[in-house]
């Protein structure tokens, strides 16, 4: 490894992009690191990999936002090539109805429960879980889209009613 930071983030971004393609997501084709409107970024200097993508072939606006911070050392998540992830957040959400969830590794704010997830809920809820991956978040996005469509076909339209009808077992890592 050189003093140029972590070039592996470019490989990681390509890997995640390939997986997004397989799962049926599209990326905004513009690279961007804006904190207001992020698209995708691989930053070797900071070890950040970040992608926002939307589900194709779906009448709902379902998105994922995947953010990882890579660093030298193998004591974090997803360890490979002498590197690992110090912190991640994998967010999954539908715009309308507004329902979202996210999987976090956050040893700073929650050292007592660094691995946790925020299930779909109308209030802030945090629960322990196992390690998540970008693929797990993509899977959750597909499941959320399918569940919302299926429940809407049954006449449920309010976000709270849909959330109450979700089987959380399909989402927990």
């Amino acid at each position: 490894m050189s003093g140029r930071g972590i070039p592996f983030v470019f490989d990681r971004l390509s890997e995640i992009r390939d997986q997004l393609h397989l799962y049926g997501f599209r990326l905004d084709p513009r690279p961007g690191t804006s904190y207001v409107d992020p698209t995708y970024a691989a930053e070797p200097r900071t070890g950040i990999v970040e992608v926002t993508a939307g589900l194709e072939d779906c009448p709902l606006d379902v998105r994922v936002q995947l953010v990882e911070q890579w660093r030298a050392g193998i004591d974090g998540a997803h360890a490979q090539r002498g590197l690992s992830v110090l912190a991640y957040t994998y967010w999954v959400g539908c715009v309308d109805p507004a329902i979202d969830l996210h999987y976090d590794l956050d040893p700073v704010r929650h050292p007592e429960m660094p691995l946790h997830w925020h299930p779909p809920a109308m209030t802030v809820v945090r629960r322990p879980c196992g390690p998540a991956t970008p693929g797990r978040a993509m899977q959750a996005a597909l499941q959320l889209a399918a569940d919302i469509e299926r429940l809407q076909a049954q006449g449920l339209n309010a976000a709270a009613d849909i959330v109450d009808s979700l089987d959380l077992g399909d989402y927990v890592p």
Partner: protein, 130 residues
């Protein structure tokens, strides 16, 4: 056929197209080799994901991404502009709970950590050079 039926395939449909046993398709779904969802107790495969899976088998890959990597100083300034904080003070607020635990703030906290740690990481890597 409903819209849902046209966009999601059943396991027997995929097994027939791939000329495989249904149990092999279930295994591919379970291992996430083939993306799938649950409709109650049944497993369905999104049609687009199935098509992408076939593309991948034939060697198809999306186009390479372009990269536009700003310098770390730009990132630091962008972070300050977006949050009104330095990474260190943001992390302090995040740790203490004075910053709300929202998805967007979780994301910003990761960026704050990365911006704070980048000089330390570079020093660590340089020290590790032979």
């Amino acid at each position: 056929m409903s819209d849902l039926d046209s966009r999601y395939l059943t396991v027997p449909q995929v097994a027939a197209e791939l000329q495989m046993d249904a149990s092999a398709v279930y295994k591919m779904c379970k291992s996430q080799q083939l993306p799938s969802v649950r409709f109650g107790k049944s497993v369905r495969i999104p049609r687009l994901a199935y098509e992408r899976y076939l593309e991948r088998l034939e060697g198809g890959r999306p186009k390479p991404l372009e990269h536009d990597s700003p310098g770390s100083q730009d990132q630091l300034e962008d972070f300050r502009d977006a949050t009104g904080h330095d990474p260190e003070t943001w992390i302090d607020g995040w740790r203490s709970g004075s910053i709300p635990d929202t998805p967007e703030n979780t994301r910003l906290a990761i960026h704050a950590l990365a911006l704070r740690d980048a000089p330390r990481q570079r020093a660590k890597q340089t020290a590790a050079l032979p």
